[in-house]
């Protein structure tokens, strides 16, 4: 089928099977290889993208379901050559090691920060909420501590509920 959708603010069209995974459409058809595959079963979160404003595992979305939808991948987080606050803080805090989980974590954490999901929380509550909200993203390198630090730091940079991070 012919698929027309918006990816990172651009209108894209792809000829594909409706059964193909969104993950494969992004990586193979659109060459957006920032989105990673770690398991193919919706467990690791490395393939996380935003679909119509919610974070999803792109390995569990059928291409057909994406027609007319709006998708943001890790490639769409930076604006005008400036990294998203979450990306900057992952770098600054040492929240990335091998990097395979980082795109999924960046997309999910940017969603958390931009939607203000931890806005107004004290530090301990915010940390607990981050651990809950990001529990679908497995990282085997960091022990998560420095990632939580990075998300907290990014949230402090960004006015809650705005797109100011971008």
């Amino acid at each position: 089928m012919k698929l027309a959708f918006e990816v990172n603010g651009e209108r894209r069209t792809v000829e594909t099977s409706p059964w193909k995974r969104l993950l494969d459409v992004l990586r193979e058809d659109l060459r957006l290889t920032g989105t990673k595959e770690g398991c193919g079963e919706g467990e690791c979160g490395a393939c996380t993208v935003e679909l119509d404003g919610e974070v999803v595992n792109s390995c569990l979305v059928a291409a057909g379901q994406c027609d007319g939808r709006r998708i943001v991948t890790v490639e769409g987080l930076a604006r005008g050559g400036v990294l998203h606050a979450v990306q900057r803080q992952l770098v600054a805090c040492g929240g990335a090691q091998c990097g395979i989980c980082t795109p999924g974590i960046a997309v999910c954490a940017a969603h958390v920060v931009d939607r203000g999901l931890i806005a107004g929380c004290d530090d301990a509550t915010a940390r607990a909420k981050i651990r809950d909200l990001l529990a679908g993203n497995i990282c085997r390198c960091t022990g998560y501590q420095l990632i939580v630090d990075a998300v907290i730091a990014a949230a402090r940079e960004v006015a809650p509920g705005t797109e100011g991070a971008r």
Binding site: Q97, C98, I100, R131, I138, C139, R140, T142, G143, L146
Partner: protein
């Protein structure tokens, strides 16, 4: 044949190379006694003997990027690129497989999504497959393992059974230690002998004891092969000795930390292999660090958010980890690295890979410091076998300490040579300017290659397993508070503090990342990770059932960097990659025992395992 006892009894003969039926490798360490009879006499005369049997489970590395490799042939030359820790291991294997010379095969590392030992030896296997397929097909061939294939086929941490006897005199001093270690190697040899070696060399622990016997065997079974995983045998034997020391503390009614402090090795003491400890023994500094933050143990009893009663406890442990290759391994490897004047500054060439642990950053910092230039002028080149010298594999906590030291030396020599060249021409000024000037000249490349040099006074005897097992050790203490839900028997880590003597933290954020990542792998191994085998196959070969900790499972981790410099490491740095994996499992077991009054001597300490002990709990 899936049982090591059956294998040792010779139920079937899978392997026999003279160490006993089905024994891949055996090591024996003896200290302070000439015969078994002498050892027995010490035990017979002891005031107390503590005996225990300990079992640890297999563990999956679960790097988030599965194994992947690609090969193509061009003009009779084989090119391989993929996810790996050790390009020259793959290179060596391909030379044998393809019966070709060193220049006929080139190995390049792609950005690698985690390894933890799992991409130490297995990449040679998948490289072999793509190399042969590509030759046959006449096209590039890429293989990417699916998660289920990766879990089912690749090597995991060796399950291990340790029997441990501790003889103590009336004053509570250790008189003798007797240990028997058996690891399940699985169906093929893999790196099992080396894993076993590190396991037995750490088995007696960082404690003073005049008489030690350690026997270790790794055994052939029909399980999938076990292999390298962060810690490399040491986490298994560390679990055993730190449970034993805990039992000694209980027996004597002595504070768990104070007892360890009293018995711990310090400079001037000798290890189980008779190694005289000199510089960089961080024992006292590590204890001081952990004591400074320990605070009160958690309140014993409470109720959690589900309304279930909970019981809390605290556990500690003290441990060490030898950095670099075992024994004379580093001398045999003779790792090399090159620092050269590049087109726009300096190049660092080594075969050490960055697998997330920060090798590129650390090498950049080390070279920049040695050259006295800004890190922006340093380029660490990709570790492609045709472009870099063999620095040895990216394993064994050796990248920063060993290869970093070689880079440090090469950079210092290069700096002198470049300055001398400048002086000859009458040019002075910043080194970067000299480098640019040199690069503009039509002369030969200015490059300095250095080779590993062992620290003075290091001697190891492989025949008797005595001497300096490692050039230096990292030292660490861990404190864990746990809370057990008495309805569900789930143990939750409330607090985990690690104090680790790293020599020198060249990049504190990277060092913290190493310690925290290793710590969580250890907490996962202690409480919830497991590889379930059924009829010799992995029964939970997916991420749904072969679980690792999520953000929500991880406690806030407290990391204390202790710096007792190692004179032969770059800026005093010692290896840090593996040590955090060794200790926390024992600290967790000690904490759960503290909470429930029941010994936990097997991993994982799953809710099922805790529930099975319910009749023996000692609650108020």
């Amino acid at each position: 044949m899936f049982d090591v006892d059956a294998a040792l009894a010779g139920a079937q003969r899978l392997f026999d190379a003279g160490h006993g039926v089905n024994v891949f490798k055996q090591f024996v360490i003896r200290k302070g006694h000439a015969s078994d009879a002498e050892l027995d006499a010490v035990f017979a005369g002891a005031a107390h003997v503590i005996e225990g049997s300990y079992a640890t489970s297999p563990q999956e590395q679960m790097y988030v990027e599965p194994q992947a490799m690609m090969a193509w042939w061009r003009d009779g030359r084989c090119h391989i690129v993929g996810s790996m820790q050790c390009p020259f291991y793959v290179h060596k294997a391909m030379k044998v497989l393809l019966a070709c010379g060193a220049d006929d095969v080139e190995i390049a590392q792609s950005v690698t999504g985690g390894g933890f030992g799992g991409k130490e030896e297995y990449p040679s296997m998948i490289a072999a497959h793509v190399a042969l397929l590509a030759r046959k097909a006449g096209r590039a061939v890429k293989m990417v393992y699916d998660r289920d294939e990766d879990i089912a086929a690749t090597t995991k941490r060796h399950p291990c059974w340790t029997r441990h006897r501790l003889a103590v005199d009336a004053r509570g001093e250790l008189c003798a230690i007797d240990i028997d270690v058996v690891m399940d190697g699985g169906a093929y040899l893999t790196l099992s002998p080396v894993v076993l070696s590190r396991g037995v060399l750490h088995a007696a622990g960082p404690y003073r004891c005049p008489v030690v016997r350690v026997r270790g065997r790794v055994v052939a079974t029909n399980h999938p092969p076990h292999g390298a995983f962060r810690g490399f045998g040491a986490p298994q034997t560390t679990f055993a000795y730190e449970r034993q020391i805990q039992k000694l503390a209980r027996l004597r009614g002595e504070d768990a930390l104070a007892l360890r402090k009293r018995l711990a090795l310090r400079a001037g003491d000798t290890t189980a292999t008779g190694q005289l400890l000199g510089a960089s023994v961080g024992t006292d500094e590590v204890f001081a660090a952990i004591e400074s933050v320990a605070g009160r143990p958690p309140v014993r009893d409470g109720v959690n958010a589900h309304g279930a009663p909970v019981r809390r406890g605290r556990g500690v442990c003290f441990y060490f980890h030898g950095a670099g290759f075992t024994g004379s391994g580093e001398q045999r490897l003779a790792g090399r690295a090159t620092v050269a004047v590049g087109r726009n500054g300096f190049e660092v060439r080594s075969s050490s890979t960055d697998i997330g642990q920060g090798a590129i950053t650390i090498f950049t910092q080390i070279a920049a410091a040695a050259l006295g230039v800004d890190p922006a002028h340093i380029a660490v080149v990709d570790p492609t076998t045709s472009r870099v010298p063999d620095s040895g594999p990216t394993v064994a906590s050796r990248t920063c300490m060993v290869v970093g030291a070689v880079i440090d030396r090469a950079a210092r020599v290069l700096r002198r040579r470049l300055e001398a060249w400048g002086a000859e021409r009458g040019t002075s000024g910043p080194l970067v300017e000299l480098a640019r000037a040199y690069a503009a000249e039509p002369c030969a490349e200015l490059a300095e290659t250095a080779t590993y040099e062992p620290p003075p006074g290091i001697a190891w005897d492989d025949a008797t397993y005595t001497g300096a097992a490692y050039p230096v050790y990292g030292w660490a203490a861990c404190l864990v508070d746990v809370e057990i839900d008495l309805d569900t028997c789930e143990a939750r880590v409330l607090r985990c503090v690690q104090a680790v003597d790293v020599g020198k933290a060249i990049n504190p954020a990277i060092v913290r990342g190493q310690i925290e990542g290793g710590t969580l792998q250890a907490l996962g191994w202690a409480l919830l990770e497991n590889v379930v085998y059924r009829d010799g196959k992995v029964a939970n070969a997916n991420m749904t059932n072969c679980i690792v900790p999520t953000f929500a499972d991880a406690p806030e981790l407290e990391t204390l960097l202790v710096e007792v410099p190692y004179p032969f490491g770059p800026s005093g740095a010692k290896g840090v990659g593996e040590i955090p994996m060794d200790g926390p499992a024992a600290a967790v077991a000690n904490a759960v025992e503290d909470a429930l009054g029941v010994a936990f001597d097997e991993l994982p300490i799953s809710p099922e395992a805790i529930a099975a002990t319910r009749p023996r709990w000692r609650l108020p």
